[in-house]
């Protein structure tokens, strides 16, 4: 089994120390940082997504795999960023919306997007529309991904979209929304570009949209 194949397996099985070790081993064997994504990390997280969809994996298994993938990406990200020949699939500014301190769902989506080759700018929780606008401008983002767990905070997603419009940035980014009370109809009603019912759907959607950016 090649190092990349091995890395894929250990990520799926959630072995973070092995993921770090194999990433370093691959680099020492001469693999380029960018090769790890299509060769191991993306297929590993695709497999995690498939197992989640088919009820073989549940939240703990996904978190464990995501942590293992992070072990690899933490080593690779600075190397990819320093290589001018490499461009991310897209840059995603993400966060839990203003007033909302819940972030498990947001963290899973961010990790899955990162593993799919997106550059993630995670603004954390309780993120105001102003902070989103500022980050989109600063990072030249292609996507904004917003999460809400509460009916009282999901309304702030609309304010964020309006702030992007006022700042003249709305046409430059695709806005994706998700979270327990959020529905496709709600996403449409506030003028978002897409809704993911779970992390797998969010990644699929971002990939589809990225192909058209």
């Amino acid at each position: 089994m090649s190092t990349l194949e091995e890395l894929k397996e250990v990520i799926i099985n959630g072995d973070a120390p092995a993921a770090k070790r194999l990433t370093e081993k691959g680099l020492s064997e001469g693999l380029k940082a960018a090769e790890f994504f299509p060769g191991a990390i993306i297929p590993a997280m695709d497999e995690v997504g498939r197992r989640m969809r088919e009820c073989e994996f549940f939240i703990p298994e996904v978190l464990i795999a995501a942590r293992a993938a992070r072990g690899a990406t933490d080593i690779l990200k600075p190397l990819v960023a320093g290589d001018p020949s490499q461009r991310p699939v897209g840059t995603v500014v993400c966060g839990s919306i203003k007033g909302d301190l819940h972030d498990i769902g947001k963290n899973i989506v961010a990790m899955m997007l990162e593993s799919a080759g997106f550059r993630i700018v995670d603004l954390g929780v309780d993120v105001s529309p102003e902070k989103i606008v500022e980050a989109v401008r600063r990072e030249q983002a292609d996507f904004v991904a917003l999460s809400a767990l509460l009916t009282t905070t999901m309304v702030n997603m609309k304010a964020a979209i309006e702030a992007l419009t006022s700042a003249g940035l709305r046409q430059k980014v695709r806005v994706l929304v998700g979270g327990a009370p959020v529905t496709e109809a709600w996403a449409r009603s506030i003028g978002a570009d897409g809704y993911g019912k779970d992390a797998v759907a969010a990644v699929e959607l971002a990939r589809q949209l990225a192909a058209h950016v």
Partner: protein, 433 residues
């Protein structure tokens, strides 16, 4: 028919005069304080500006006083420990204003001083010399835990560290429960829903232990979920010891509250997400069910109490295991989650499980629908879940902030109008099909 008889009939899967109603019987069947204020105002129960007490500071649940219960026809009262989730007592009331501008009363341990950015921070036991354990973001409605996770050293991980909040019940608390159970039992005809604490295994809302000043062990949310797999033995041993302590406490508690209690809230651990179970059915079976079985077994062998499980989300796949573990009551019955259609649940499990909740979707219809939509949904849920008993009306989890008061009124009007068993049969309604 008294409220207690009405609830008992429902729990025996028999129809009463009407479907019983819970509001405020537990910390998952209540109403956020701003909404309680607006409801009381709309019903003309208070002069404008009359504050409402915050009885549960974490979720900012408002007091459901006897006059409101009377007005709505509420059949259930809650019984719980004398301290709040943050570890301070509900005493020494002082005025405060929520971010919505609602006048409320909060206990003296509740910090009302805003942080530099305007957030409200809450402190364990109200002790401001300890690191804060809860945060309500400026403009927010509820608190969330501030996780205080000490560095984890695998070689020094000690099961006792995750058990600090579980211990033998004190004589003071037993005295409190004795008198608090007697009062509603003797002075009212309400059914008592008790939450004594200590029997929820791995409830993620409780894992950060916001009442502890310096929690040890595994306290971070992601770390906890991961540990249920990677440190399975550790978590199992925490549950094992917690269960032993919990059973000893239940025995003492039963000695003082006896059979005045109708139902007991055993666990609020969430096992469902919007789309499916949070954990695998096998993980439920291996890690949680043994302890649920022990607690419920003790309850059924020694008391007349019915056992209540709260789990949000899509738990259809786990319901047979819940029943097998000895639960009698399921809450909040989140019908908006995958596989949780009311008719299917009633048909498949209605003879073995009492549904307590599911009366209206609090994520969509109640906050964002029209009064007519609220009315139609409540009518439909009463028809389906109410058939043959085995149903206590409650919203799907607490009524949240910013719910239009017209919708709240429409909901309770519909409960009154369509919750009568007489009216169900006279309009030709049949048992759920």
């Amino acid at each position: 028919m008294t409220s207690r008889e009405r609830v008992n009939r429902a729990l025996q899967h028999k129809e009463a005069d009407r479907v019983p109603l819970d509001l405020g019987g537990s910390s998952v069947t209540g109403m956020q304080v701003d909404t309680v204020y607006h409801l009381r105002q709309a019903l003309g129960l208070d002069e404008p500006g009359t504050p409402v007490k915050v009885l549960e500071p974490y979720q900012m649940l408002g007091e459901i006083k006897a006059d409101l219960m009377q007005r709505l026809g509420v059949d259930v009262v809650g019984l719980g420990k004398p301290t709040t989730m943050f570890g301070f007592k509900n005493e020494g009331w002082k005025p405060w204003t929520t971010f919505e501008g609602t006048p409320v009363l909060v206990p003296v341990g509740f910090n009302t001083e805003p942080d530099t950015n305007g957030d409200i921070l809450m402190y364990p036991e109200g002790d401001r010399s300890a690191p804060p354990s809860g945060r309500m973001p400026v403009g927010g409605f509820y608190f969330d835990a501030i996780v205080r996770q000490p560095p984890i050293d695998e070689s020094r991980l000690n099961v006792g560290d995750n058990l600090e909040e579980f211990g033998p019940i004190s004589d003071d608390v037993l005295d409190y429960l004795r008198s608090e159970a007697s009062r509603p039992y003797l002075d009212t005809d309400k059914a008592i829903l008790a939450n004594f604490g200590g029997t929820a295994f791995g409830d993620i809302a409780l894992v950060p232990a916001v009442q502890l000043k310096h929690p040890k062990g595994i306290r971070e949310i992601e770390e906890w979920y991961i540990s249920t797999k990677t440190r399975r033995d550790y978590v199992y041993r925490v549950f094992e010891r917690q269960c032993e302590i919990g059973l000893r406490n239940l025995e003492k508690i039963h000695g003082v509250v006896c059979d005045k209690v109708t139902a007991v809230f055993v666990t609020g651990t969430d096992f469902g997400t919007q789309n499916g179970p949070f954990i695998s059915p096998q993980a439920y079976h291996d890690l949680y069910q043994p302890f649920h079985r022990e607690v419920n077994g003790w309850i059924h062998r020694n008391t007349s109490w019915k056992s209540f499980i709260h789990s949000c989300g899509s738990v259809r796949a786990l319901i047979p295991d819940f029943i097998d573990a000895g639960f009698d009551i399921l809450n909040p019955v989140q019908c908006s989650a995958a596989g949780m259609a009311p008719g299917e649940l009633k048909k498949e499990f209605g003879d073995r499980l009492t549904f307590w909740g599911g009366g209206i979707d609090t994520q969509r219809t109640l906050p964002f629908g029209s009064p007519d939509e609220v009315r139609a949904e409540v009518r439909e849920r009463l028809r389906i879940f109410g058939a043959g008993g085995g149903y206590v009306f409650n919203t799907t989890h607490n009524v949240q902030a910013r719910v239009p008061v017209e919708n709240v009124l429409a909901m309770y009007e519909a409960v009154r109008e369509f919750g009568q068993y007489q009216s169900m049969s006279s309009s030709g309604w049949q048992a759920a099909s």
